[in-house]
């Protein structure tokens, strides 16, 4: 009797101890799987089919809600926004943690480096024959590395240059203006003449207007500058996918051509300490003639206002490829990460498959250049310049080749490139440039190939 009472009392004490010690600490077990989709805050959209969708975050929130409702498994999808340019913090730093991304929506430009972490899974198995037939092969090709599809394209931005045709007309450069939805193609000689004519005119008036965009303060927009290294033709890469710049006369010519622009007054003052935004602001103030342009850019609304649908002409703006007649394509789409849970990978694949097989979500890509032929066909007349961009895609260059260490580290390609371009533009106290074009090409080749080489060393592809 006594022993029983003692045992009972001890049980109560132990229970009390546990209750007191661990009260509030317990958490109920969750059986449903949670998929985390991360998307940068800067992913804006000009969605034609649904005007309420202003950004990719909203699109994915709506799509994931519908997916969960129709899905046969108990699943929860959390869409998380992160600051644009904070991919390292939002993605790499979360590997192995509870907030690790299962799906990332971002530009291929930002996403390609994650392929080499070994966390991104190949997703060729997502593609059905119908999808393969529908998506433009060039876009799919941009998502491949080592013949495997790692990035699923959704929409694309083709970057060209927009120019202020009023300034052209003001300077007697009408002969270079093409009317209508046309993306012009000029020779390097044309370019030189045009820029010099504009610069001379602006210098004389002394109001601070300049013809050409140029910036090297940070890595924003560096791709466009890199595209201009092709102004004299040729490829930047050799057959081994390494940069071939130092012994490349075309590249050296391009660098010299760009450097001469400083003395010729083509650029904003102190171009090495200017950003793409400085140039953007200057262009909007009608004080800069050429600036970057794509269907998703903030200038697009002005372009639409400028377009006369009856005459099918523009009054203020014209469009041209980068010197050398190139354009760059920025794809956006999805990557799936392997966080050690095969069930979550399957759910993520199911979500993306659902997303592409559901017309209302696929059609939201119309606004930028859709990767889907059927969406393109349906909306080509509703989107100004869409067809022109589609035709111009033949001039696009693969500027990253999805190489490792393109960005994200202190010695990555993007961390190195703009600094060398800045040096190309800087003059010393005696008025001499800090580096010659040859030195710049040599430095670029060494540093960029070192970056890629280190990236290759650390590169791990998913099995």
């Amino acid at each position: 009797m006594g022993k029983r009472i003692t045992a009972f009392l001890l049980q109560i004490i132990i229970s009390m101890s546990f209750l007191l010690c661990f009260s509030g600490c317990s958490e109920s077990d969750k059986t449903e799987k949670e998929i985390i989709i991360k998307v940068p805050h800067t992913s804006t959209m000009n969605c034609v089919s649904n005007k309420d969708i202003k950004n990719v975050y909203t699109l994915l929130k709506l799509a994931s809600k519908d997916f969960v409702e129709q899905y046969d498994k108990d699943v929860k999808i959390k869409v998380v926004e992160f600051e644009g340019g904070e991919e390292t913090k939002a993605i790499t730093n979360s590997f192995g943690k509870s907030d690790a991304a299962d799906i990332l929506y971002d530009g291929f430009f930002n996403m390609s480096s994650f392929i080499h972490t070994g966390k991104v899974i190949p997703i060729d198995d997502i593609l059905t024959q119908e999808m393969k037939d529908d998506i433009y092969p060039a876009f799919l090709e941009h998502g491949r590395f080592d013949n495997k599809l790692y990035m699923m394209p959704y929409m694309s931005s083709e970057n060209i240059l927009i120019y202020n045709r009023e300034m052209f007309e003001e300077c007697g450069l009408n002969e270079y203006i093409d009317e209508g939805e046309v993306i012009s193609e000029w020779s390097i000689e044309d370019w030189t003449k045009i820029l010099n004519t504009l610069a001379d005119k602006f210098a004389k008036e002394g109001k601070g207007r300049v013809p050409m965009m140029m910036y090297a303060k940070d890595n924003q927009g560096d791709t466009h500058i890199m595209t201009m290294l092709r102004a004299f033709g040729g490829d930047l890469f050799n057959s081994n996918n390494n940069f071939n710049l130092a012994d490349n006369p075309d590249v050296i010519s391009a660098l010299r051509w760009l450097q001469n622009g400083v003395d010729s007054g083509w650029y904003l003052p102190v171009p090495y300490y200017k950003t793409m935004s400085d140039n953007s602001s200057k262009f909007k103030m009608d004080e800069l003639t050429f600036y970057n342009f794509n269907l998703g850019s903030s200038t697009y609304s002005r372009v639409k206002e400028d377009y006369n649908a009856e005459t099918k002409t523009f009054k203020k703006y014209g469009f041209v490829n980068y010197p050398g007649n190139h354009c760059t394509i920025f794809n956006e789409g999805f990557e799936i990460f392997d966080n050690g849970d095969s069930e979550k990978i399957e759910i993520a694949k199911d979500f993306i498959r659902y997303f592409y097989e559901t017309d209302k979500w696929l059609e939201c890509s119309a606004g930028s250049i859709p990767v889907s032929k059927k969406v393109m066909e349906k909306y080509k007349d509703d989107i100004l310049l869409l067809e022109a961009f589609a035709h111009n895609s033949v001039n696009s260059v693969d500027y990253t080749h999805n190489l490792p260490n393109w960005q994200g580290s202190e010695n990555s390609v993007r961390s190195v490139f703009y600094k060398e371009i800045a040096l190309l533009m800087i003059k010393d106290a005696d008025g001499n440039f800090a580096v010659t074009p040859e030195e710049c090409a040599n430095n670029l080749q060494n540093k960029l190939n070192t970056a890629i080489s280190e990236g290759r060393k650390n590169s791990t592809l998913h099995d």
Binding site: I13, K97, V270
Partner: protein, 736 residues
């Protein structure tokens, strides 16, 4: 029942002590945890103050830079005429400074940047920088979410208004541009990240190297000047939004707002997304900045820092408390043992004193009576007197014997040498026997003796000798202490425990002198006697109740007593027993009694008893007694002689041999063994009683092993002898 209550009491006591220890440790851990938490908060405050000062210094450093830009501008202002010249100059200033952009705000609100000149609000992207200086402050810093010139970056705008004081010749009256407008202020713009990068608190990292604490800066509207570090929160949330939507918060957002407006330093806990954070808030220590610095640290960091220490404290305290309690309990036990030892020593001392007195008194009486009788033996007129003296001498000697028997009993019980040997017992018969044995004794004292037996189970397995001894003791005590005119009620009843066991309860209630409360608590202890005035006249060893309790407990029962002084006592004995069928020998005992009643006299008359006893006096007395009961005793002086006499006797000449255990030449056991081994018809059947002053278990075993039939304790009680003889004859009768 009492024992069970006692166990319950001890269990609850142990529980109470454990609960007290537990609560003490719990309270201690809480208090220690709170103290350590305060220390941790204090540490966080120190780090926060350091970071806050760093930010303040950073901002002040930027203002200094703006001052220097102003100084350089003064020197170069004459050369700055065109917009392009000014743009380039400002571009270079920005490149050389900590700013991303350096602007010059003119007195009319227009301003030069490194790329353009903005005249008024008609210009695209014009920003009214003049509004920064609505107050009289010369220094200004504000956070701005979207400045087109900076793209998507959030910015911090620093303003430095050139002094109007004419005494400051260096900076006043700077004029630039074609129309030589006066410069009003220098504007510096930089990304917020320049502050953010310096705000990661390295002190608070978890085992994985992740930062668990971060700083942020908000303005007094709760808007983040410097973003929080957790990417999960919406970029547009203000501190007040976050507090409002938090899972729980010590302070409401309105309280936080109020404290900020008052410029107070404070901290509060907030739980969001399941994570508890300590938020330490302090205003930046510059009169020109109305921002608040906030350091948020994951509570796990504080917990981790304090947990180990609290655990250590709890363990040390637990051990200390347990050691103290063990020491306390041991001290109590030692004290108790000492007290008991003292009490026992005292009781034994008293007992020896009592015994000395009790034994000397009757011995003195016997010696005195013998002396009187020796003197008076020759005087015929004294014969009646002598007869009276002999009776008294007999009575005194019997008392002396009882006294010594009690002492021996308690010794045996203490040594565990008394075995309980349950055997079928007729309860009613046993009760009647006790009643009849005590009847004359009680009624002779003019005390009414009432019996009240309700026996439902007639036969139980019980040690009849021992239960009878207990009951005789209790009833005998009642008889001793109940004055004439009172009554003694001797009752018994039974209740079933289960289908095979029954609880027999014996109650003896008297209207005697009762007992004091003090004595009542000690009544079952050895060497205890109530010396209250009412019982002084009553003789006793003080061992009876102790013997009774030991016997009852040995039988698995309980004995208890209730008593009130001068009113009487009630003794209750409860004995659990196995129920059994009435064996044949008990059923036929009456038949046998009738038979033996008819034949006993004849048998006895002709019965020869061989008495082996080396002590001449004892032998003589025993022979005389036996003769008086018409036995024919034959004396043997030792075991050897007893064997020889028996060997020479006729077959069945001796029915009984009374064999002393300790004898010279050949002891009783050896003699008995030899007799049993004799090759004669009655060697196996003759009844041999062991006679000894000792009746310990080993003596009994030894005697029975040597072939003796039973025991007789010296001095031989002839009635006991006769009863044992009857029993042996009865067994033989049944076996025939």
């Amino acid at each position: 029942m009492k024992q069970s209550k006692s166990k319950c009491f001890y269990a609850f006591f142990v529980f109470f002590i454990i609960v007290v220890i537990f609560l003490a440790i719990y309270v201690c851990s809480i208090v220690t945890g709170n103290i350590l938490e305060d220390v941790a908060v204090s540490n966080i405050r120190e780090v926060a103050v350091h970071d806050r000062n760093t930010i303040t210094m950073f901002i002040e450093y930027n203002w200094k830079n703006q001052q220097r830009i102003g100084e350089r501008l003064k020197r170069n202002s004459q050369n700055l005429k065109t917009v392009k010249q000014i743009n380039e100059y400002l571009g270079l200033e920005a490149y050389e400074s900590t700013f991303d952009k350096v602007y010059l705000l003119m007195e009319d609100g227009s301003y030069y940047t490194d790329v353009t000149y903005r005249k008024d609000s008609n210009d695209p992207d014009y920003y009214p920088y003049m509004d920064l200086f609505k107050n009289t402050d010369n220094y200004k810093v504000i956070a701005y979410d979207s400045l087109p010139i900076m793209g998507s970056d959030k910015v911090v705008i620093y303003g430095y208004k050139l002094p109007d004081n004419p005494k400051d010749e260096v900076l006043s009256g700077i004029r630039i541009g074609e129309d030589r407008k006066e410069v009003y202020a220098v504007i510096g713009i930089c990304k917020r990240s320049t502050i953010v990068d310096g705000l990661v608190i390295e002190n608070y990292v978890d085992n994985s190297g992740n930062t668990q604490g971060y700083s942020s800066v908000v303005n007094k509207n709760g808007e983040y000047v410097v973003d929080r570090k957790d990417a999960a929160s919406s970029v547009s949330d203000s501190l007040f939004d976050i507090i409002e939507r938090s899972d729980e918060s010590d302070l409401k957002f309105s309280d936080v707002q109020e404290k900020m407006l008052e410029g107070k330093e404070f901290w509060f806990y907030m739980k969001k997304n399941g994570v508890r954070e300590l938020n330490y808030c302090a205003p930046l220590n510059s009169s020109s900045i109305d921002w608040y610095f906030i350091m948020s640290v994951n509570y796990n960091v504080i917990r981790d820092q304090t947990e180990l220490f609290v655990l250590l404290i709890v363990v040390v305290m637990s051990v200390a408390i347990i050691v103290i309690i063990i020491a306390f309990v041991l001290t109590i036990i030692m004290q108790r043992k000492t007290q008991i030892a003292h009490a026992q020593e005292k009781a034994q001392s008293e007992f020896l004193s009592n015994m000395s007195h009790e034994i000397r008194t009757p011995l003195n009486g016997i010696v005195g009576l013998n002396y009187l009788m020796m003197n008076a033996i020759d005087a015929p007129e004294k014969h009646l007197q002598i007869k009276e003296w002999l009776k008294k001498s007999q009575s005194t000697a019997e008392y002396l014997l009882a006294l010594i028997n009690d002492v021996l009993d308690i010794s045996k019980l203490q040594a565990g040498k008394v075995e309980v040997t349950p055997a079928p017992m007729l309860v009613e018969t046993m009760l009647e026997s006790v009643y009849s044995m005590q009847y004359d004794n009680i009624t002779g004292r003019e005390v009414e003796f009432i019996k009240d037996f309700h026996i439902t189970v007639p036969c139980i397995q019980c040690d009849e000798v021992h239960i009878k001894q207990v009951l005789m003791n209790i009833v005998g005590n009642a008889a001793k202490f109940t004055p004439a005119g009172g009554f003694i009620k001797f009752s018994a009843h039974q209740s079933m425990i289960d289908e095979n066991h029954v609880m027999t309860t014996f109650i003896c209630k008297d209207t005697g002198c009762g007992m004091s409360k003090e004595f009542l608590s000690e009544i079952f202890n050895k060497f205890t006697q109530d010396r209250s005035s009412t019982s002084n006249s009553t003789k006793g060893t003080g061992l009876g109740m102790a013997i009774s309790k030991l016997l009852v407990n040995a039988m698995g029962g309980e004995i208890s007593v209730e008593s009130e002084l001068n009113k009487g006592s009630t003794f209750t004995v409860e004995i659990p027993s196995e129920i059994c069928e009435i064996p044949d020998y008990l059923k036929t005992s009456s038949d046998y009694a009738e038979k033996t009643a008819d034949n006993s006299n004849n048998d006895v008359e002709s019965m020869k008893i061989l008495v082996a006893e080396d002590n001449e006096l004892n032998a003589e007395i025993l022979m005389e007694i036996l003769s008086q009961f018409d036995f024919i005793p034959v004396h043997a002086q030792n075991g050897q002689e007893a064997v020889e006499i028996f060997e020479k006797s006729k077959i069945n000449e001796f029915k009984i041999i009374l064999m002393d255990m300790r004898m010279p030449v050949l002891d009783g056991c050896e003699a008995s063994s030899r007799i049993r081994k004799l090759d004669r018809e009655d060697a196996k059947t003759v009844t041999i009683f062991a006679c000894t002053a000792n009746s310990f278990q080993e003596d009994r075993v030894k005697a029975l092993d040597s072939g003796m039939n039973d025991f007789l304790t010296k001095p031989i009680d002839i009635n006991t002898l006769l009863r044992k003889m009857e029993k042996i004859n009865h067994e033989k009768y049944n076996s025939q």
